[in-house]
């Protein structure tokens, strides 16, 4: 029996996989937002299950800042820079999507032996979803040439880790949780600012072309 939490995080993982398949920034950002909303939902459900009120707080923060704020910020950036579509790096998007689906399956295999705390029911699904998100995020980072795409990939990785933490532990300390969130946000902001600077200096935001510094 799959619990609600697991369902939510699995949905998030699947959405992330779907995200790989498209190079449209807008669609990507939308899918990311929805995915993060699912995760926020999972957080609420977990809070409910554990009776932990602070998790609700975090869920709200995630819902507002990460699920809505960050996509909007990136969307606005892309609008300003007038880029809408990634070019794609290394492998083509459909192939990448299939790869991430394979990795989704693989993550179930990899995580089957991870011990879960007694209180967590069916922790396996959560762990698999988390690891799958992690993989997907890496795939995104590897297959996107635009700076925004890379930020997005990083955010997906971060989501995966969050999902893992959510499902595999009985709640991280609040202070740590907030610190992580803050760092992530500041990081994304810094990256966003940098994207503008890259556009200004190079007149593109294709990071695959940033290869001046090498041996």
């Amino acid at each position: 029996m799959i619990s609600g939490i697991n369902l939510c995080v699995l949905c998030a993982a699947v959405l992330a996989c779907l995200m790989v398949g498209s190079l449209h920034l807008r669609l990507n950002l939308f899918l990311y937002g929805v995915e993060t909303l699912f995760i926020a939902g999972a957080t609420v459900l977990t809070a409910n299950a554990h009776g932990d009120a602070s998790l609700i707080c975090i869920a709200i923060l995630i819902g507002t800042l990460k699920a809505l704020g960050v996509p909007f910020f990136l969307l606005r950036t892309s609008e300003k820079l007038n880029v809408h579509r990634d070019v794609g790096a290394m492998i083509t998007p459909p192939l990448a999507m299939h790869l991430s689906i394979v990795l989704f399956a693989l993550s179930f295999v990899l995580t089957r032996n991870i011990p879960t705390p007694q209180l967590v029911v069916n922790g396996w699904y959560g762990a698999a979803a988390g690891i799958s998100l992690l993989f997907t995020g890496l795939v995104v980072m590897l297959t996107r040439r635009l700076a925004i795409g890379q930020i997005l990939g990083f955010l997906v990785i971060e989501n995966g880790i969050y999902v893992f933490a959510l499902t595999q532990t009985l709640g991280m300390p609040m202070l740590v949780e907030m610190g992580i969130l803050l760092d992530m946000l500041v990081g994304v902001m810094v990256c966003g600012v940098l994207v503008f600077k890259i556009q200004k200096s190079f007149e593109h935001i294709d990071v695959a072309l940033l290869t001046n510094l090498k041996e």
Binding site: A89, M90, L138, M141, L142, Q150, A208, T211, K214, E215
Partner: protein, 656 residues
């Protein structure tokens, strides 16, 4: 408080003071004279001090403020180290006398401050290496020695060739110290101690550390096939530096071998045989290549390789004899090795100083541009000749005395060893040594003849003048040492036996007898020559005329045999080793009878360098370039590295 400890401390203080004085004042104009006299003072102080304590064995350990981090500096002064100190101080003294005159010729080429800081550091570190009693003090002093000498080699660093030499030297030194470090660490993990006194190489596991240490020392002293750096470094350095490098620094590895491996009871036959073979080959190889050199200092450098080979050979014989429980032969060979260190130290520093004088006065070291200096620099010539005779081991000079001991040990080994294989080995070595002796004569006759005799081959050589009194003084001093040590070899040998048996762990057992009545022979020879001269030549009427020119008109310097042509018949015989090729092109309309231009080029390829070392470097370079390709600048690639590292780590995690 022991007088020796006072000596040690004051020595270090003195030298460090000199270094510090320089470090502070390196910008102001440095007086070479003042520094040279300071060097002389330190050296004479050290000479006095090494005579002072007799045969006492003194240990000394620094305490809290002055330490190498967590390790104390430990020193040991016994007969052996006192002996090497004496040699070092004597050489330094001579160099101190030589320096002011010599350095004034290098004004503007080298920076005085840098030179003297490095020189004093070198002196300090060489004292330190000889005195050190544990591995850490040893390696620290050793590295300081390598670095400071590399700086000295690069004194005249505006020349590309000098830079290259210094770098090759630095690389070789670092390789040597890397091997030494490996050996020391290995011994430490076997014995749990850094102190040389508690290292025992007789045990079976110690064979690999012993090998590492041996190789390290071989590289540093320039034993075949690790001698590549030596012909680069010696010619590039100023003569004073080369004198101390060849005269003493090349003996330090030998000292290390005695101090660490031999006193540590090395008995593994594999290592000893390796020493034997390396010593034999390098003595032959060195002198063979010396023959075809056209740079005076390079020639001397190759001759150093030969002599280090001889010393190594003596040590190996001594060890073999000890292992075969023939203590008499072991003692003779050991004394031969130590005595040859002393002799080669004196001779080679003399020769390099003389070569330095020639370089400074005739402005060239190239044998093709020298000649006829006999009339212009008679004193330098006399000193150089004594050194050259001595290094050819011609009686009654000192080179012969030690070589005779070596021959004796080989002869007795051939006589007394049990196994036929060993006997054959020793016999081959005797044969090889006699060839080496004859080749050495060829080498140095060439050097003496081409540099000093005949006509001058260049304008600069023609206008050379005799070196300054200070420079001559240093050379005469060393030449007198060479002659004196040769004539009084019997009593010197008994002194050396005493020293060797009075060190911490005696390396000889019984006093040995130097059976040759050299003083008598020398006196007879001298008297006979004098009588012949007085009887025949003194009263003969002498008419001066030009050299016979076959009636073709005046001879020029070009009609003389050059260094190449002198060596050619011999070089032809050893063509396979030398990769010796002469290429002559004659041009002109009727080129057989009326050549307009003749161009002869001699080419010698160092096989080791081109076939072994350069490919090794190429491999490193290839690896480095291959690795550098990883850093391709693509961020996607970098992320792939992260992912793949993760996979590897996870795999490792499951395995472990």
């Amino acid at each position: 408080m022991n007088s020796q400890v006072v000596f040690l401390e004051s020595l270090f203080l003195l030298v460090s003071a000199a270094v510090a004085a320089f470090a502070l004042s390196h910008k102001s104009q440095v007086s070479d004279k003042a520094m040279s006299y300071l060097l002389c003072a330190i050296a004479s102080f050290a000479i006095a001090a090494s005579f002072l304590g007799g045969s006492q064995i003194v240990g000394y350990e620094t305490s809290a403020p002055l330490m190498l981090g967590v390790f104390p500096l430990t020193f040991l002064l016994d007969g052996l180290s006192r002996f090497f100190l004496l040699l070092l101080s004597a050489i330094l003294f001579a160099i101190g006398l030589f320096s002011p005159g010599y350095l004034s010729h290098l004004k503007g080429k080298i920076s005085g401050g840098q030179y003297w800081i490095a020189f004093f550091l070198l002196a300090l570190s060489m004292f330190g290496v000889v005195l050190s009693a544990d591995a850490i003090t040893f390696i620290v002093m050793w590295e300081v020695m390598s670095l400071s000498s590399a700086v000295l080699v690069a004194s005249d660093h505006t020349h590309q060739s000098v830079q290259k030499s210094a770098l090759i030297y630095l690389g070789a030194s670092r390789t040597a110290s890397g091997l030494l470090c490996g050996g020391f660490l290995w011994m430490h993990s076997l014995t749990g101690s850094w102190n040389f006194a508690s290292w025992n190489f007789a045990q079976h596991q110690a064979i690999f550390p012993a090998l590492l240490i041996l190789l390290g020392f071989c590289i540093k002293s320039g034993v075949w096939p690790f001698h590549i750096w030596l012909p680069y470094a010696y010619p590039s350095a100023p003569a004073t530096v080369t004198a101390v490098m060849s005269g003493f620094m090349s003996k330090i590895p030998i000292y290390g071998l005695i101090r660490i491996l031999i006193q540590g009871g090395l008995s593994s036959p594999e290592i000893i045989n390796l020493m034997f073979v390396l010593g034999a080959i390098s003595s032959f190889w060195g002198v063979l290549f010396a023959l075809v050199q056209n740079d005076l200092k390079r020639l001397l450098a190759y001759s150093s390789i030969e002599n280090i080979g001889l010393i190594l050979l003596s040590l190996a014989i001594s060890l073999k004899a000890r292992a075969a429980s023939l203590p008499l032969i072991a003692d003779v060979a050991m004394v031969a090795a130590i005595f040859h260190c002393l002799n080669h130290g004196a001779i080679k520093s003399l020769l390099f100083l003389a070569a330095g004088s020639v370089d400074a006065m005739a402005h060239s070291r190239d044998l093709h541009r020298l000649g006829g200096l006999a009339k212009r620099m008679p004193w330098t010539m006399a000193c150089f000749f004594i050194g050259a005779f001595s290094i050819c081991s011609i009686p009654p000079l000192n080179g012969f005395a030690s070589k005779w001991l070596l021959y004796q040990s080989l002869f007795k080994s051939t006589l007394l060893f049990g196994s036929y294989l060993d006997r054959g080995l020793f016999l081959t070595a005797i044969c090889l040594l006699s060839a080496v002796g004859a080749l050495a004569i060829a080498v140095f006759v060439k050097a003496m003849g081409v540099v000093f005799l005949g006509m001058s081959r260049s304008h600069t050589a023609e206008h050379a003048v005799e070196a300054s009194p200070g420079m001559l003084c240093a050379q005469v001093l060393l030449a007198a040492c060479c002659a004196g040590m040769g004539v009084f070899a019997p009593s010197l040998v008994s002194q050396i036996t005493k020293i060797a048996s009075s060190s911490t762990r005696p390396i000889t057992t019984a006093p040995i007898d130097f059976a040759l009545p050299i003083p008598l022979l020398a006196a007879t020879l001298f008297a006979t020559a004098l009588v012949i001269y007085l009887l025949f030549l003194q009263s003969s009427k002498v008419r001066t005329f030009k050299t016979w020119d076959c009636g073709f008109g005046p001879l020029t310097a070009k009609t003389q045999a050059s260094s190449d042509s002198f060596a050619q018949p011999l070089a032809r015989i050893f063509r396979p080793f030398l990769k010796y090729e002469t290429k002559a092109t004659i041009s002109g309309r009727d080129r057989r009878h009326f050549p307009e231009q003749i161009n002869v080029e001699v080419k010698i390829v160092s096989i080791l360098e081109s076939r072994v070392y350069l490919p090794c470097l190429a491999v490193i370079s290839y690896l480095a370039r291959g690795l550098a390709k990883l850093q391709a600048g693509s961020i996607h690639l970098y992320l792939v590295y992260v992912c793949s590292t993760l996979i590897i780590l996870l795999a490792l995690g499951t395995v472990l």
